[in-house]
Symmetry: C2
Subunit: 363 residues, 2 copies
């Protein structure tokens, strides 16, 4: 077995979820990722845990969803019962064909999401992590050979997360006490928002592996200005290109996209909260050096800022602060590598992708 | 997809487990059998059921078992919780390497069995079926090409089970009311036993797919005589050849094997019940025409009788009849195709593999 797979497994079990002796651990992995499941089971054995394996098969899900009537699967009671008794959940993504569910009617996908919502909600209360196995489907999506994609994934995943935590702590120290944030890139993006009273979270590979971002929540009504998201964005298997949004009093008042604009419009029309920002994130994983059409990696890339319309992340909004509620959460990315800067309370903290606390910074 | 896989799935869902709308269905399948899982999910969608998929990975089990301390996994609480909420369980076997767990210490395997016993016990109260996917590992074990093994498996599995039930009913009608059964083959086998008061079960593809046997329980103390099991037998990955047993008053008083006799001795020494017979089965699936070192198929073969030392099957022993209790159950097969007969209450009911109710029978 590729030794990097064992290293990946150790980080998942030891660092991300801190598995203890006696823990019930549920490992969700697709068939293509069996090698990682094997390595994770080995590590769980070392730790004295009680593992079980739940295979995810997008092919099986597709077959079921096309065959079933939408109303017939409102609750997965047995999956919920298992989740309730689980202490730790390790979720592995990976597919041989990223378009495997492309011919499932969207209303079926939505019904499946509803059926799973109680299980997902329960999972949120556990120690959990989501990660990626370098399968051929995601390699193809990234327009990379499988071998080059393996190098990319393990480069981003198998790193010194304690050093990453320390590095990112410098940005948390800037953003957490801040009031106003301004993001400027080229002529098209100039966006201001308040993060006053919100909490900045340091993501160093716990719930997401790879981690590598710091994120917080904008005050919903405070967002003003324009933004052009010039980086890849895929929603339900369809790519939305060059999303442009204009905000007034925190609300999207104008929007455009160069391709699949109707998908964007659909997201914005989900509910009230879908027209406001729920997240401001700053990518800081320097080992992610290219876009792969996979948000788990793309949003962590150095030199980027991402903003999400819709639902805020609970832990970033302290009790008493305004929480942006929504049924959707769509991350979108701005490239900050050239002709760009981030300003916090009037001071430039990043220019052209280089942070104030990094070598080569030119304020 | 091979259309025989969809047919297999339909039989599992419709015939074996009679899945109804709203049933929670747990599908346990190894990664290699993903095609069958896909077809089963499709059929479960047709029936309006709620499926979930639990991957079995012998590679992951091996890694876990070699790494863990034996005492550390006494209960799989989350698997048990899931099983309790499940209505139907579909268990698929299949491997790329039948020797995958050959380097796991036996005491670890036993500890795993103990850890799973509560889950297995719970499963017995559900509608469940065990079946085989024609994977390369089992094909190799059978010394067959994968394609020839596929033909063999689908021949045995995808058949008219209602016709099979009717065919076997003729043997049930003979055996169920009977008292004495005598099995004679060549010079080495002449065994007598009583089945008085016991229940004969007709297996036509419900809990086992393929099915194709009728089976009952001998009265434990009644077994007298000698038997040579001249057909393949594998226990914990080791082949035991030419097992010879001599019974007096129901108990094994002499035993030999041409190969791995110590494995046989170990089984016989498990407990008191391990030295008595727990099952008499008569194979009646004519589409199983060769031995494949896989008891799910071998014991159903036409022209064979199988006997198990150890634990009796609960449904064959009515309330008030003597039940042979044991921690073990080892099936062994006698070839009845030549120079052999089965006698029931003094009348020959099968000679050289042909039943009294079949063409070509010569009493």
């Amino acid at each position: 077995m590729d030794p990097r797979i064992r290293q990946h497994a150790e980080i998942l079990v030891d660092h991300s979820t801190d598995v203890q002796a006696g823990d019930n651990v549920l490992v969700r992995a697709p068939a293509v990722a069996e090698d990682l499941a094997v390595a994770v089971f080995e590590r769980l054995g070392d730790r004295g845990a009680n593992p079980s394996l739940a295979m995810r098969s997008p092919r099986a899900d597709r077959a079921f969803l096309r065959a079933t009537d939408e109303e017939d699967f409102e609750l997965h009671g047995h999956e919920l019962a298992e989740m309730e008794e689980t202490d730790v959940v390790i979720i592995v993504k990976g597919t041989r064909n990223a378009a495997e569910t492309s011919d499932v009617p969207p209303e079926k996908t939505a019904a499946m999401a509803r059926a799973n919502s109680a299980v997902s909600e329960e999972r949120m209360g556990k120690r959990w992590v989501g990660t990626q196995f370098p399968a051929s489907g995601e390699a193809q999506l990234a327009e990379m050979s499988t071998e080059a994609y393996e190098d990319f994934v393990y480069g981003a995943v198998n790193k010194d997360w304690e050093a990453q935590r320390t590095h990112q702590e410098q940005m948390v120290a800037i953003l957490d006490p801040a009031d106003e944030v301004r993001v400027v890139s080229g002529d098209a993006t100039d966006l201001r928002m308040s993060v006053d009273g919100m909490k900045t979270v340091n993501d160093y590979g716990e719930k997401n592996l790879p981690g590598g971002e710091v994120f917080t929540a904008p005050v919903p009504d405070s967002v003003e200005g324009e933004v052009l998201f010039d980086k890849p964005l895929v929603r339900n298997g369809r790519e939305i290109e060059d999303v442009y949004l204009k905000f007034e009093d925190g609300e999207v008042v104008d929007h455009r996209a160069a391709k699949n604009e109707e998908v964007l419009t659909g997201v914005l029309e989900t509910d009230e909260g879908a027209r406001r920002l729920g997240e401001l994130g700053i990518g800081m994983n320097r080992d992610i050096d290219r876009f792969t059409y996979n948000m788990l990696f793309d949003e962590k890339m150095g030199d980027t800022v991402h903003l999400a319309i819709g639902k805020a992340i609970r832990e970033t909004v302290p009790e008493g602060q305004p929480y942006n509620e929504s049924a959707t959460h769509l991350d979108m990315i701005v490239d900050m590598s050239e002709d760009s800067y981030i300003e916090v309370d009037g001071e430039i903290v990043q220019r052209d992708g280089t942070f104030r606390f990094e070598d080569g910074f030119e304020g």
